[in-house]
């Protein structure tokens, strides 16, 4: 509880400054909607059922795209980490794609996957797959070689080596990598939904803008921030699991 109070206080102060800025007219109403207006639009969006629908749509897209990326990236990273030659061959290509903004893929996403959930899955995949492979690969490459020598003495090979040594050893870095890439995914979904989608939180902001409803846009921004934060807290809890602690206690 003690940890929560300072954060909450800062939040309340920020809210107060926002309210004051509107109240004193530092920003005119058309440039910054007041907290009161935003609260009203919260109610309106919630009542219309749009907000819930948009939250589900965005979460669904992020989860599917992200799961597919993780399911492919983690095994690939684990394998590449132990194969210096292949790693060297693929590294430039992986890095090249990592630095391509997923938003640059938007026109292709629409042309290839049309409109709806699929282009969003694709964009989430493109934004998270490459950083995740690189993270896992780098983590495996830095496992002290003594681990593998000991594993060799125990005659661990193949699956056993992977599940008893390699995977547990990289788990802490893997979870950090997952948190970072999840952050990317959540940022990208909002941008991706601004085109090529017909619902979702990003679409909600875009539509609110088109409808000249900044109050509703702010309401969506708040929801996006809160959900992003909430899921990160859940992922953070993973670092506390004793399965993961193994990696820390080297």
């Amino acid at each position: 509880m003690k940890k929560v109070i300072p954060g909450l206080l800062v939040f309340i102060v920020a809210l107060f400054i926002w309210w004051l800025a509107c109240r004193t007219g530092v920003f005119p109403a058309y440039a910054l909607p007041s907290p009161g207006q935003v609260l009203l639009s919260f109610k309106e969006e919630f009542k219309a059922g749009r907000l819930v629908n948009d939250v589900v749509a965005s979460l669904w897209r992020v989860f599917v795209g992200y799961y597919v990326a993780a399911l492919l990236a983690i095994p690939l990273g684990l394998w590449l980490g132990r194969q210096p030659r292949v790693r060297n061959a693929l590294l430039p290509m992986l890095n090249f794609f990592r630095f391509l903004s997923p938003l640059a893929w938007i026109p292709f996403a629409i042309l290839w996957f049309h409109i709806g959930d699929k282009p969003a899955f694709f964009l989430i995949f493109m934004s998270t797959f490459f950083p995740l492979v690189l993270t896992v690969m780098a983590a495996v490459a830095t496992i002290p070689s003594i681990y593998f020598r000991v594993a060799h003495d125990y005659k661990y090979t193949g699956w056993e080596l992977l599940t008893k040594v390699t995977f547990p050893a990289v788990l802490p870095q893997l979870i950090t990598g997952l948190r970072v890439t999840y952050g990317i995914a959540w940022v990208v979904i909002v941008a991706a939904e601004m085109v090529g989608c017909q619902d979702g939180l990003g679409y909600g902001i875009w539509e609110a803008r088109n409808g000249l409803r900044l109050d509703s846009a702010v309401c969506y921004m708040i929801v996006i921030g809160l959900i992003g934060m909430g899921i990160d807290r859940i992922l953070y809890q993973f670092t506390k699991l004793s399965n993961v602690r193994w990696g820390y206690e080297r």
């Binding site: 989860f63 017909q198 000249l212 004793s242 399965n243």
Partner: protein, 355 residues
């Protein structure tokens, strides 16, 4: 705390299963098969569907149109509308044939045709409906005053850009005398208010917004500077024209008749369109009901002479590449000879509510 494998897998699988269920709602009988359609036509017994794309930027009264066309269909078609938020997405959707008909800015349709996308202009969406807006206290009083200022336009392929270029030629202004900035229409009123631009030229309701908020005034109505200003047209994929010409004819008839209705029932039309645009009814009402009329929904048959003029200027400007015969861009076979009078019962005019 330790996680056993089954618990861990369950923990991972749970959110995706829950979200999948919430997303597709298998328990609801109809499901949400076509979530992309924002407004479904009310004709449940129709044996075919056609979805028409539109943007909420130029007073497209597409929802009432499709609603109306579905009710009065003679080809037993249900017309749906699908809201897009930008033109690049509309063009991509048209290229990949996800939508076969849409409202679109005319020069963009010409550009698509030039690129080999087989689309044709079958009808117009509306006339006029755009204004040049300057700041309320601005010293700009005439076209000549715009020299040396910064003007926002919605797209390089917009008719607003074409009209401005033609007027600049007429007034002897050189290219570059007015700096054009492409801005998303919703950002134009606020950019004007903050002084980032000196003026903007765009379709409604983004002009009305600046006026209603008290920091902008109309310098010119589109019709003052280019009578019968064309902004958007109904663009249809040729495959549909070939396979179902009667559906296209039915749609054009619907647009013509509901346009005639909207022309004389403006307040009702605003009320009808507002929920689909997620826009403030006050703004739409202002756009549709102020005098002199800002937008017209009559005289919508595509006139080859008008369109040729647009193409010629587009080519001079360099936004269009080559001269394409008007006959290959325009298909006016579907224009009705006589537009019947229509009475729409507002209380019955509702299909599926917008999501």
């Amino acid at each position: 705390m330790r996680f056993s494998k089954p618990i861990f897998i369950a923990f991972l699988a749970l959110p995706i299963v829950a979200l999948g269920l919430l997303r597709y709602k298998p328990w609801s009988a109809l499901g949400q098969a076509d979530k992309d359609v924002i407004h479904e036509g009310p004709n449940a017994r129709a044996h075919r569907d056609l979805t028409i794309g539109f943007l909420p930027v130029t007073c497209h009264l597409t929802c009432p149109v499709t609603d109306y066309a579905s009710k009065t269909t003679v080809s037993n078609t249900n017309f749906n509308s699908r809201l897009f938020t930008d033109f690049p997405t509309v063009t991509d959707a048209l290229k990949s044939k996800q939508i076969m008909a849409t409202f679109m800015i005319v020069p963009l349709a010409m550009k698509l045709r030039e690129q080999g996308v087989p689309v044709k202009i079958c009808y117009l969406g509306h006339r006029d409906g755009s204004e040049i807006i300057v700041a309320k206290n601005s010293k700009i009083r005439s076209f000549a005053d715009l020299k040396g200022t910064k003007m926002a336009i919605p797209s390089n392929f917009s008719n607003q850009h074409i009209v401005m270029t033609k007027l600049m030629m007429d007034y002897g202004l050189k290219p570059g005398d007015i700096t054009f900035v492409v801005l998303p229409p919703p950002d134009m009123p606020t950019s004007l208010a903050s002084g980032a631009i000196d003026s903007y030229f765009v379709g409604e309701p983004f002009c009305a917004k600046a006026e209603m908020d008290g920091y902008g005034r109309v310098l010119y109505y589109a019709r003052d500077i280019w009578p019968n200003f064309i902004s958007c047209a109904l663009v249809v994929h040729e495959d549909l024209i070939k396979s179902d010409p009667d559906v296209v004819r039915d749609l054009v008839r619907g647009i013509a008749q509901s346009g005639k209705w909207a022309e004389t029932h403006r307040a009702e039309a605003a009320k009808l369109a507002a929920p689909y645009f997620r826009q403030n009814l006050k703004v739409l009402n202002y756009v549709l009901t102020t005098n002199p009329p800002r937008v017209e929904y009559v005289n919508l048959a595509p006139n080859k002479h008008d369109l040729q003029q647009i193409q010629d200027i587009g080519i001079k400007m360099g936004i269009l590449g080559k001269r394409i015969p008007m006959d290959s861009i325009v298909d006016d076979r579907f224009v009705p000879d006589h537009i019947a009078d229509e009475t729409l019962d507002l209380s019955k005019l509702s299909g599926t509510a917008p999501h």
